[in-house]
Assembly symmetry: C2
Homo-oligomer: 188 residues x 2
């Protein structure tokens, strides 16, 4: 079964354990082994300078073991996706491993950015707002489109989902499974 690294700000949620388990179970229904960066084994009490490196090394190890990424790009603490998730997305693109992603939001990046600037003004006047009618920055849209995932999955009915909703994730998993099934057929 292909292994999918389940990136996202899910790791910061108070109910991360149940979300990770639900995602792994959904993946299994589509013939994919979900690999969650959530690891409850990390030693509490480790000094911060050791702990963050341990998490980083563990995440990169899991990424290396994975055949593809399925990233939660729901905007997180700003107009764009979670920062760590974006580094991981880029890593898979750089490795030439398929990039799949979804978002529970429906508004375009430009609208979210303008709304945010209204509350937290830019550091200098005249900074451009990127506006291509995309779900996020064009490097993200490109990473997904050119990286194998085809498109960033969003709610089809135009209704934003709760931050931790999983129905759009499931559509994304189904698409990833279909790609791997096609790939397998094509090569054998």
């Amino acid at each position: 079964m292909p292994k999918a690294y389940l990136a996202g700000p899910d790791v910061f949620l108070p109910h991360v354990a149940s979300i990770a388990a639900a995602k792994i179970a959904l993946c299994a229904r589509y013939g994919i082994t979900g690999i969650s960066p959530f690891n409850s084994d990390f030693a509490a009490g480790l000094p911060a300078q050791k702990l963050w490196r341990q998490i980083y090394e563990d995440d990169v190890r899991l990424m290396r073991e994975s055949d593809l990424i399925i990233a939660n790009l729901t905007p997180f603490r700003g107009a764009s996706a979670d920062a760590g998730t974006l580094v991981e997305l880029g890593w898979f693109l750089g490795q030439g491993r398929p990039v799949f992603a979804y978002s529970n939001a429906v508004e375009d990046f430009a609208a979210r950015t303008r709304a945010q600037i209204g509350v937290l003004p830019d550091p200098l006047p005249g900074i451009v707002v990127e506006d291509f009618g995309l779900a996020d920055n064009l490097m993200i849209a490109g990473a997904v489109e050119y990286g194998g995932g085809g498109r960033l999955y969003r709610p089809e009915d135009g209704q934003a989902r709760a931050f931790d909703s999983l129905d759009v994730f499931e559509r994304c998993v189904a698409a990833a499974a279909a790609l791997f099934k096609t790939t397998t057929k094509a090569c054998c």
Copy 2:
């Protein structure tokens, strides 16, 4: 001369052309060819759906031509660095090409995140604030430390710089040049 991809939200600045030229000139003083993603040739008037793909393809082409990345990770429209820059940072990490980065900010990620949440509340209660005393999300700190750059360069005197200031960038360029000089010596 090693080629450095000069990633950053600089491309959104109203004076992007002069900033790009100044960065390229600084790189040249240290024996590095600066490659800026800023390209004034992009056809105005192209439909958005063509234009963003043209920019994406051009950026990836420039990244492929580059030996390393020097990324401007000054927080941009949120507590973290620019979203597109983070995808590019991850790409270089995934490619095994050296990752150098700087920020003109001095506050830690956790302090910035808490300040932002005070203005733009989280979508759910209880979401963790990552707090390891780092300049940004741990995947970013790790990408720079493990990716060859050693550390994320920040103002040494603890004084935040203007968003478009270049003195911290110059220290980062000097460090990148030193790495490539060492690498050249070691291999010949």
